[in-house]
């Protein structure tokens, strides 16, 4: 083999890698929070009394789930300016990721809501609680407890998917990797290191979410 691996560039690149990783983490934190909140409304809409609202949410979920994230991203970043909506790369990335995340977790949250026994709502009604209080204090916490593992997986998948937003020049991990390999001509070594960073991030994210879930959700995870 005539090729010797060279990681000599790594020392000078640590700053770039770190700033890329920070951007990736920032994207996923914003997306997870916004996407989960949105998906709670989505799941409520999916179970609404109004048929139009139900159909609308179902259509949105199917549209997002049956098209690639990359195409959604390009449509938002390159297509929307045609309608006069011009977004900078980071905003476009957050918007695309949030809409994507919301569609997937609408299904997840919905499954959680269905899993809460009807008796819980009835008991709360008997105690005279208002519908909104019942949903926020009684149903939602129990639903979140059931779906927490599925939601965690979805967040990790979204984090891995976020590598794609480098294509619209968001300066996250993959973008920094592209820059680094163009400068060092050490493409394989660069992507190898960045892949390891992603692997570490996904393991850490999963552990962190599980630990946080165990602590904050009453009674631990199902």
């Amino acid at each position: 083999m005539g090729y010797a691996l060279d990681f000599g560039w790594l020392n000078d690149a640590l700053g770039m890698i770190a700033s890329g990783a920070v951007m990736t983490v920032f994207l996923i934190v914003v997306t997870s929070v916004a996407g989960t909140l949105l998906s709670i409304f989505g799941a409520i809409g999916r179970r609404s009394r109004h048929a139009i609202l139900r159909k609308l949410v179902a259509g949105y979920v199917e549209l997002i789930r049956n098209t690639p994230f990359l195409v959604q991203l390009f449509f938002i970043f390159f297509g929307l300016p045609r309608l006069g909506i011009r977004l900078d790369p980071v905003t476009a990335a957050i918007l695309a990721m949030t809409l994507n995340m919301a569609a997937y977790s609408t299904e997840i949250v919905g499954a959680g809501l269905d899993a809460v026994p009807k008796g819980q709502t009835e008991a709360a009604k008997a105690l005279g609680l208002r519908p909104r209080t019942i949903f926020i204090k009684i149903v939602l916490p129990q639903a979140l407890k059931v779906i927490f593992p599925a939601l965690t997986s979805q967040i990790v998948i979204m984090m891995l998917e976020s590598a794609v937003v480098s294509q619209i020049a968001v300066r996250e991990l993959t973008y920094e990797a592209d820059m680094l390999q163009a400068r060092t001509f050490r493409a394989f070594e660069t992507y190898f290191v960045i892949t390891l960073v992603y692997l570490g991030l996904s393991i850490a994210l999963r552990r962190l979410l599980y630990a946080a879930g165990r602590r904050s959700i009453a009674g631990g995870m199902a």
């Binding site: 083999m1 090729y3 199917e62 549209l63 789930r65 049956n66 098209t67 690639p68 994230f69 990359l70 195409v71 959604q72 390009f74 449509f75 390159f78 297509g79 929307l80 300016p81 045609r82 309608l83 990790v156 891995l160 998917e161 976020s162 590598a163 794609v164 294509q167 993959t174 990797a177 390999q181 493409a187 394989f188 992507y191 190898f192 960045i194 892949t195 992603y198 692997l199 996904s202 393991i203």
Partner: protein, 215 residues
Amino acid sequence: MIEFTFWDIARNLLLAARWTVLLSVVAFAGGAIVGVAILLARISKRNWLRRSAQYYIGLFQGTPLLMQLFLLFFGLPLLGFRIEAWTAAVLGLTLCASAFLAEIWRGGVQSLPNGQWDAGSSLGLHYIAQLRLIILPQAFAITRAPTVGFLVQLIKSTALTSIIGFEELVRTSNAINNATFEPFTVYGLVALIYFVLCYPLTRYTKKLELRTAQR
């Protein structure tokens, strides 16, 4: 400059979609074959084989597909293989699919009661025959819904191969967009084509899930 009508755009995109379909089919078939091998390792009685398969699956599920494609595209030439975009695309998607499919099917195998294995042994079947005649057919039947669901995911994942230069739907759409400056139409149509490819499969998955739930 050549003028592109709407139909020119649509026709070119549909022609490019053939490559998306072909890549999906090849990667799914390849992924199924390699996936069975990974599955066998994953449920093996040998500890080190099980461990290796577990790491293999964890590696592919814990890193972005885009990185996997980049590593193959830039890494294989270092080992002396001449490689083009389509080789890296097929290889990357196949390996990734094998990891996901093996994990789906493992769930199927482990959901079978131990009695199925015992019954096979008591009939005098050896390990391979037990797997081939009793265990795997049932495991595949149970996991048909998630398997088709993964096919949808795989079709969508082929979009990433455009980034390493494979001429499929998204890469062609980028080129058309650069020529026509009609991003709204072009990417809208691309989304529509993917939707038409994926939605029937999603519906089929739902039907399979309902059927399993009723049983």
